[in-house]
């Protein structure tokens, strides 16, 4: 890591007077194993590295990146970023983040042992995953995919504003998708587990989920259209939080693309809803000591007891709004400039189990998975319509499975139609925590 920071600092040495320069250097190592039909289908290993350089000069910003840390290419990247800066529009709020004195929380996100974990054992684990899914239930006729993947990544940020940070993390996952059914009927369901090191992966849970989710949909029919109460499974609820997140980014608010714009201090949700983004939570997959501009991560309350409290700021949006950055800069690696957004969203959990929630609603729909989030949910207008699979709920318990249906509402209404939040908090890969969530007055479309 010091090596990456030194490389970044060497670029800074070439900054010209009056120039602000930020260098982001990243390097990672990945392994991926895919098995099919009892055999290794592919085994990939790779190292990737790259540098992204941001130059602000004369009130204009330019950026360039390269997937290489070779000296000549890094030099060319700085020159390109500098040249690109001459074409931007002058914006007095442009600037880099300055150290703000907040100390980073110590997080245990990196495990050395991942690097020494033998490849053969990763392969064995993946083969075992496939075997176990197939054997989990006689109605499972095949395994569409069974995969293991891991990565160890490190990054450094150095800037002329005095930022010097390094980050590293390790992660691994297993995922399997089961094919259930005989003859002309097929249903699919997947299960996974994520951890910082392979020893912590929960193979049994991945197997159980894939088996249960695929087999419980067997016999699914298209339901008739109606308005009803839905219970979102934890991963579905997490996707839904992800949609809300884009409206809580200060950048969306400033640019008039947020359905929460101008509503600070107003009740936007039911009073028992509190939403925070907390990348200092060690269990969160998106946890990190620093944000993408090198400021120490912190816990930000966005909606408290149903009232909108604030937005996610990076240094640019903070400056524009006359507030400080709350360390919510995010970036897609070395290839892009920092935007602002969430990394570890969660609702304050309730206490009820999913079974209890189903018993409480009596009749409705348990939504196991949704499709078309990118095409049918518009975080600007709030229109929400997605494909849904799951089980009808009757008399407080799960009943027949359904498929080829959609559920629709608007994001604004869903926050106000929230009936209950479960206590089954589950940290998932991605930027949000899942838990069962009950929402009333949702339109189910089928036949």
């Amino acid at each position: 890591m010091t090596e990456l920071l030194e490389l970044a600092e060497r670029v800074l040495d070439r900054a010209r007077p009056g120039e602000q320069v930020e260098v982001f250097v990243g390097r990672s190592h990945h392994t991926e194993v895919k098995v099919f039909d009892g055999d290794i289908e592919s085994l990939s290993s790779a190292d990737t590295q790259g540098v992204g350089v941001r130059v602000i000069a004369g009130g204009r910003q330019g950026f360039a990146y390269a997937a290489s840390l070779d000296d000549d290419i890094v030099t060319e990247t700085l020159a390109e970023a500098r040249d690109n800066a001459t074409f931007g529009t002058i914006d007095e709020f442009l600037g880099l983040a300055s150290p703000d004195g907040v100390e980073p929380v110590d997080l245990d996100l990196y495990r050395e042992e991942l690097l020494s974990f033998p490849t053969d054992r990763k392969v064995e684990m993946t083969l075992e995953l496939e075997r176990a899914v197939r054997a989990a239930d006689p109605r499972i006729r095949g395994v569409e995919s069974a995969e293991y993947a891991d990565s160890v990544s490190e990054s450094a940020i150095a800037s002329t504003a005095g930022i010097r940070t390094t980050n590293r993390r390790s992660g691994c996952s297993i995922v399997a998708s089961a094919l259930a059914g005989e003859g002309t009927e097929t249903q699919t369901g997947s299960g996974y587990s994520v951890a910082r090191t392979p020893e912590d992966l929960d193979l049994a849970k991945a197997v159980k989920d894939a088996a249960e989710k695929s087999t419980r949909l067997l016999g699914a029919r298209k339901p008739s259209s109606r308005r009803l109460t839905v219970v979102l499974d934890p991963p579905v609820a997490a996707s839904f939080l992800g949609l809300l997140a884009s409206g809580l980014s200060a950048s969306s608010v400033i640019k008039g693309r947020s359905l929460f714009g101008g509503r600070e201090g107003e009740a936007v949700a039911v009073p028992f809803l509190t939403l925070v983004d907390d990348p200092t939570e060690p269990q969160a997959w998106g946890a990190g000591r620093y944000d993408a501009e090198g400021l120490a991560s912190r816990r930000n309350v966005l909606i408290e007891d149903g009232v909108l409290r604030g937005f996610l700021h990076n240094s640019y949006t903070g400056r524009r709004c006359g507030v400080a950055s709350n360390a919510s800069a995010v970036r897609g690696g070395y290839r892009s400039t920092p935007g602002c957004g969430s990394r570890a969203l969660t609702l304050t959990p309730g206490t009820a189990s999913q079974e209890q929630l189903l018993a409480d609603i009596g009749d409705g729909l348990l939504v196991q998975s949704v499709t078309g989030l990118h095409s049918g949910a518009n975080p600007i207008s709030g229109d929400f319509s997605v494909g849904a699979e799951g089980l009808m709920v009757r008399g407080g318990t799960t009943a027949e499975p359904i498929r080829e249906a959609t559920i629709a509402s608007t994001l604004q209404r869903m926050l106000l139609d929230l009936v209950a939040i479960g206590g089954d908090q589950e940290w998932l890969p991605g930027g949000a925590c899942g838990m069962s969530v009950v929402i009333g007055e949702v339109q189910l479309s089928g036949s």
Binding site: F36, L43, A46, S68, E144, S145, K222, T371, S381
Partner: protein, 462 residues
Amino acid sequence: MIDEAVVQRVLTAALRTGGDFAEVFAEDRRSSSARLDDGKIEELTSGRDRGAGIRVVRGDTTGFAHTSDMSEEGLRAAADAAGAAARGGGGGVREVALTRREHDQPHEVRVMPEDVAKSRKAELLLKADDAARAAGGAIRQVGASYADSRRRILVANSDGLLTSDDQVRTRLMVSCVASGDTGMQTGYEAPGRTVGFELFDDFDPADTAREAARRALEMLKARPAPSGTLPVVLKRGAGGVLFHEACGHGLEADLVGRDASVFRDKVGTQVASPLVNLVDDGTYAREWGTYAIDDEGHPAQRNTLVENGELTDYMWDHLRARKAGRSSSGNGRRQSYHHLPMVRMTNTYVLAGEEDPEEIIRQTPHGIYCVQLGGGQVNTATGDFVFGITEAYMIENGEITHPIRAANLIGNGPEVLRAIDAVGNDFDTWTGTCGKDGQGVPVSSGQPTLRVAAMTVGGTAA
């Protein structure tokens, strides 16, 4: 990009552990982009990605490694890693003799984006911003971005193939937010072609911006979409994504091979209405999914998938074709040298039929008319798919009436294909990015105006 003798030695090294096929895929990609938002050119970005992916196949197992180190040493290290992953005990020395193969370009690129001043790229965005804002006072925000890329690839393999391609793509994207009594609505337009800066001879940035603005303004008048089963008329070009999702993915030989497609064992059978003729055509000049060779070095082809409703073939890449004892259909693609290739679509088109598009609408008593779709998703194993509508209208008594708000439509591939009951004599295409297994590749889809007799519309109105 790499010296021929080096490639030859690297392939030989890759086969040392007993592999029966080895391949070097090298890529050098330069891209430039510019982004305007909130009335300002936020930044210009330049990108450089260069590296090689090496795979070694032994039986059904593929070993893969990639590197950004293009020296012989770096390539050999990747070859060793890929070879180790596919090791079989045997091995030995197998010399590879390469023969260079040239390919005709599907069309000429007239203005290389790298030869165009950056200031002109920035000006396009300012022009788009002006035009969109002039479209109406209700337009509150405009985002526009320009992107070009030049991707040079080299493919060599142990069958003796050595070939290369130079792929240039240019795209402009404009998105608008309009605000009114009913809240905010959005409009989007994004033409892109496998060409250089001459894209703008055909697509004036101001026209693109006005179209995005018109769409956002129109949607301010939209009422909630209906909920339930209705006839759906898709305007030419708008509905190609339906076929991409409803059957395209299910005809990819890798998914068929793993029993994850409802179209398995269906070649030679009627899978769609007799009105449907579907092709995947990687040779179609200038289109977004076009190339001279795929990312395995196989020339692009025009492949007929469905003829008069009968399934004629799947799409194939090198591995799947080799296993089936046939040749690839030129559909082996990958996002970059970081990825293994797999079966992917190129330009997937339903061919024009005979009906007058206006007549199709007139003969629809009650339904919806889709003018723009916003992408979709399919579960190939069950055939169930969704796609989003971003501009659509009600059809009442054979006439287009009011716009409806965004929603997803859901259907089952085989059922929807059989339910197509009218195909128009017009045609247009749509530019998009197709995602599969974490890899995105440029594709286009296209179709004439056509009608699906019944699909489920996922709106909120009863």
